[in-house]
């Protein structure tokens, strides 16, 4: 065609004015439009038999079960699996991206070796030989960072580095690491699990439970179930946090409070509960009472947080008078909250008698490990990664000789980015097992691409937040799109090369053994007709047909168990609480930074899923600029105008932002979106906005010694 569509339509339009009243031009236009749309470069849709298969999302931390539509055997779309307890048919924007992320331009297409500033492809065999050599030489000083909070692959990795002589096994910081520390300090056992399905009053301290905290898809399904459309809700949700975020937008009440003050709010509520007669046989109650009476009375809390005494009294009353109250604590952006706030929230649960009760907090047992020498999850969650890297950067701790990074992006996803990058640079040999060319992979000597969810066998074991133990399988439905391999298999092959005995030849064997061990666990069942929350509420658990478990899991059903670890020493740890929970102060011309995270901007390991960019509103990202939100009173105090470009300074670095006035941010706080400011990945992530996590300095929490960065002051100019 010599004339393109636009030019052709222009010609026709020129002649159309005088002929409007006869139908002939319209008919001609009709034909022309069909003709001009017959463009060979417009992709043709695939043809073939449609079918549906099931798996579990590994990109989304909510661990939801997926139903994948395939055409002629090729995965086409992902939706929520109605039969999976962490999905019940729902899916997050991130889990929905599982299929098209297979073809993300940011994927690492084959093993890559750093050569000068660039990478060159190498074969898997060459990569294994090089790694065996380098790791063999680094024996005794090999560290590992894992970003997978719920996979059995951690057993393989931890056993491997353990046998090489570990310099530390670190999980990327998350709500799970904070909760594990809190439980440990309080003398408790097990992973905190939240029974949203049976709760009727839920006090949410900071945690963005409907967006990034824990099993968010399932949390929303549970919320929704108690709120039939158009009817008075049968549950009461109260949100306490610095902004009216995605969670607070649907809660019944929003109580503004800085992330630094969440523990203070909890102890302020404890004051009311104790005054109303709440008591507990848990160790430390008397001291707790003294602590609470000594500094967390209504006036103290008002002075520290601005919250009116009547508001807290109202919350205490709502909790005390409800049948199934529950307190959930977390960081508004999923990391960096010290254990103090978690402990204060748990203290409320204990005072309310809500431990191991339906609609309360269950202490969930850990499933048995199957790889000899593997660390337990409890042990893995103990290590403090930002604290460690900071010590390495400052020269207070020796840098490990080698580092394995699995499904994690510490160079981007940690606070105080400059310090963390400095520490990573000190480690002489680094390998990243990443599916995408992320910021950390770009710093590594070797990048060994992990196959994606739909290309590998894997599993999801009780993600943090789940109210019950749950195990679901990840099943491959297509050959790897690129020359990638599942990291579990790579590590097992490497172990063989280094003559390290890990018992298994491939990762599928590990999973089979894990499932076999579940089949022997008493109390476990396949959630099908009966759901675990119904069992928690008293319905008898169905028996498990052991031999069929693998089959049931492959069919998309989950193994579940309503468990509670008997607590012998769970107490209030009031001495630690008294040190860790202190009213925060803001000073002068600074504001508190309150970052927020959303699944549509992915995780540090995924970058922004390409199709999810459309979901980002232009009040958050405009072109290449990200916006920070603040109320008009804050803007006025700072002397900044709506839409102005500002510089935010903190932790020795600075970021740009445009000012968006949003009145649902408490005064004195500036709220900033996370997930932007990538320097790696692809056109959908790279160069879009700023990474405000870099502005948060890491400090040590008094009492627990844990690293924290949930709230920090920044300068705005």
């Amino acid at each position: 065609m010599g004339v393109d569509r636009r030019a052709f339509l222009g010609l026709v339009a020129g002649g159309a004015v005088g002929t409007m009243f006869t139908p002939i031009p319209w008919k001609l236009l009709d034909d022309v439009s069909i003709w001009t749309q017959n463009w060979p470069w417009i992709p043709k849709v695939p043809k073939g038999q449609i079918d549906y298969v099931t798996t579990t999302s590994k990109l989304c931390p909510a661990g939801e079960g997926l139903k994948i539509m395939r055409v002629a055997g090729n995965p086409i779309t992902a939706s929520g699996n109605p039969a999976h307890p962490l999905s019940s048919g729902g899916v997050s924007a991130l889990a929905r991206s599982e299929v098209y992320m297979l073809y993300s331009p940011a994927r690492v297409k084959s093993p890559m070796k750093k050569s000068g500033k660039a990478f060159v492809p190498i074969t898997w065999e060459q990569a294994l030989i090089e790694m065996a050599d380098k790791l063999g030489a680094a024996k005794g000083s090999v560290a590992c960072i894992s970003g997978d909070q719920s996979g059995t692959v951690n057993e393989v990795l931890s056993a491997f580095v353990g046998k090489l002589g570990t310099a530390g096994y670190f999980m990327m910081p998350s709500e799970a690491t904070t909760a594990a520390k809190g439980m440990q300090v309080m003398g408790g056992k097990g992973q905190a699990g939240y029974d949203f399905e049976n709760a009727d009053t839920v006090l949410v301290l900071g945690a963005d439970i409907f967006e990034t905290w824990g099993t968010s898809t399932r949390n929303r399904k549970a919320f929704s179930a108690k709120r039939p459309v158009g009817v008075k809700p049968a549950s009461n949700y109260i949100y306490v946090g610095p902004t009216r975020n995605n969670t607070a937008a649907v809660c019944d009440q929003w109580i503004p409070a800085s992330a630094a003050d969440l523990g203070v709010v909890a102890l302020g509520i404890a004051w009311h509960l104790i005054k109303a007669g709440a008591t507990s046989a848990a160790p430390g109650f008397d001291t707790l009472r003294a602590v609470v009476n000594g500094g967390f009375g209504p006036d103290d809390v008002k002075r520290a947080t601005g919250i009116e005494p009547a508001v807290l009294a109202g919350v205490a009353k709502a909790l005390a008078s409800s049948k199934a109250a529950m307190v959930v604590t977390g960081s508004p952006f999923g990391q960096g909250l010290g254990a103090g706030a978690f402990m204060a929230g748990m203290a409320l649960n204990i005072l309310l008698g809500r431990i191991n009760k339906p609609g309360g907090v269950y202490a969930l047992p850990e499933l048995a490990t199957v790889v000899p020498g593997a660390m337990t999850r409890e042990a893995m969650l103990k290590a403090d990664l930002p604290g460690f890297l900071k010590a390495v950067a400052d020269g207070k701790k020796p840098a490990p000789k080698a580092l394995l990074v699995y499904d994690a992006n510490p160079a981007y996803g940690l606070p105080e980015a400059a310090t963390m990058a400095k520490a990573l640079e000190k480690i002489p040999y680094k390998v990243s097992f990443s599916s995408f060319m992320d910021e950390t992979a770009a710093m590594c000597d070797l990048v060994l691409p992990n196959s994606l969810t739909l290309e590998r066998y894997d599993d999801v074991v009780t993600p943090y937040g789940s109210g019950f133990c749950i195990y679901s399988l990840v099943t491959p439905y297509q050959k790897p799109v690129h020359d990638t391999r599942p990291t579990g298999d790579v590590i097992l092959a490497l172990a063989r090369k280094l003559s390290i005995e890990l018992k298994f030849d491939n990762f599928l064997q590990v999973l089979k053994e894990k499932v076999a061990s579940l089949a022997k666990t008493s109390g476990g069942f396949v959630a099908k007709d009966v759901m675990p929350w119904q069992v928690a509420a008293g319905k008898p658990a169905p028996a498990l047909a052991g031999g069929d478990l693998w089959k049931a899991l492959s069919a998309g059903y989950a193994w579940t168990m309503v468990g509670s670890v008997t607590q012998t020493g769970l107490g209030f740890a009031p001495e630690v609480l008294a040190k860790a929970v202190k009213p925060g102060k803001t000073s002068g011309k600074t504001v508190t930074l309150a970052p927020y995270a959303q699944l549509r901007t992915g995780t540090p390991t995924t970058g922004i899923p390409c199709q999810d960019l459309t979901m980002v509103p232009d009040t958050e990202l405009l072109g290449e600029t990200t916006m920070v939100r603040m109320g008009s009173a804050t803007a006025k105090a700072l002397g900044v105008k709506p839409g102005a470009m500002v510089k935010l300074t903190g932790a020795g670095t600075h970021c740009k932002a445009q000012v968006h006035i949003f009145e649902s941010v408490m005064t004195g706080v500036v709220s900033a979106p996370l997930g932007f400011g990538h320097t790696a990945f692809d056109i959908f992530s790279k160069g879009k906005g700023a990474n405000y996590l870099a502005l948060l300095p890491v400090t040590e929490e008094p009492g627990t010694g844990m690293s924290m960065w949930a709230a920090a002051e920044v300068k705005i100019a």
Binding site: Q37, K47, P75, L102, R227, G230, T247, V250
Partner: protein, 256 residues
């Protein structure tokens, strides 16, 4: 408004959106895009040029902190009973003649004049400014159930019309009446995947379908109802300011 007379359909597919449950996560938008072959857009924050048949708006009550409130409003095509877009289309690329009351859009017939874009008060119609380009290999994930539109035509939400055909086929195969589908046998991709249960879908005229009752709620309203477009999408909110905003009441207007 459109000059067309209001058409009745024996089956009238409709959506009910509970604003008090929507958290604004965008899963409905993601579901819509992948279901309907909307390509990924690197400049997607340019809302004047990007395409998203389902769009989640952020509403506020316009008050200062701490009285400020926020709500999210997912907006598919409203499938108006009296659609303003239909009467302005010079080539009859869009129509409301189909059963089910879904406003159709025939892409090969569209000449891209964008009269409908201008006429639609809900901004549901999107003009393809650019060629639909997918990153290499990603066309393997295209859905066979919807066509890929070239640039230069107007496109919009069709209530995942293809799913209706699939549901009818499934009913026929099961020996059931395809004209009397059970509640839930046909739902759109956004409704199916919303983790908050904020969206419901069904035949507004069928008493066996949940939406039939829901639209009678005292909290139910339609967007810009006063224009007389009679949308088949209903919203529900217990918050009065949301309902008022939905019908664009001016601050000076008396409401109740």
């Amino acid at each position: 408004m459109s000059g067309h007379s209001f058409k009745e359909f024996p089956i009238t597919w409709g959506m009910v959106i509970d604003i008090d449950k929507c958290t604004g996560c965008g899963a409905c938008m993601a579901s819509c895009q992948t279901e309907n072959n909307v390509n990924p857009q690197p400049e997607a924050t340019n809302k004047l040029r990007s395409t998203s048949w389902m769009l989640v708006y952020e509403l506020t009550n316009d008050k200062a902190f701490p009285d400020h409130d926020v709500a999210f409003l997912p907006r598919p095509c409203q499938q108006c009973g009296n659609p303003p877009c239909v009467s302005v289309c010079p080539v009859v690329a869009t129509d409301k003649n189909e059963d089910g009351g879904i406003v159709s859009q025939i892409y090969p017939r569209c000449i891209g004049c964008r009269y409908c874009v201008a006429a639609c008060p809900y901004h549901v119609r999107y003009f393809g400014w650019y060629d639909p380009i997918w990153p290499e290999g990603m066309t393997k994930t295209l859905s066979p159930l919807t066509s890929v539109r070239p640039r230069g035509v107007v496109e919009k939400c069709t209530f995942c019309h293809h799913r209706w055909n699939l549901a009818k086929d499934a009913a026929r195969a099961a020996g059931k009446d395809p004209e009397d589908l059970e509640d839930g046998a046909y739902v759109t991709a956004c409704v199916q995947n919303c983790p908050s249960g904020a969206l419901s879908f069904g035949d507004l005229k069928n008493p066996k379908h949940k939406v039939h009752e829901l639209i009678k709620s005292p909290y139910a309203f339609r967007l810009l109802e006063r224009l007389g477009t009679k949308p088949q999408v209903y919203y529900i909110s217990r918050r009065e300011w949301v309902r008022k905003l939905g019908d664009n009441y001016l601050k000076s207007e008396k409401t109740e």
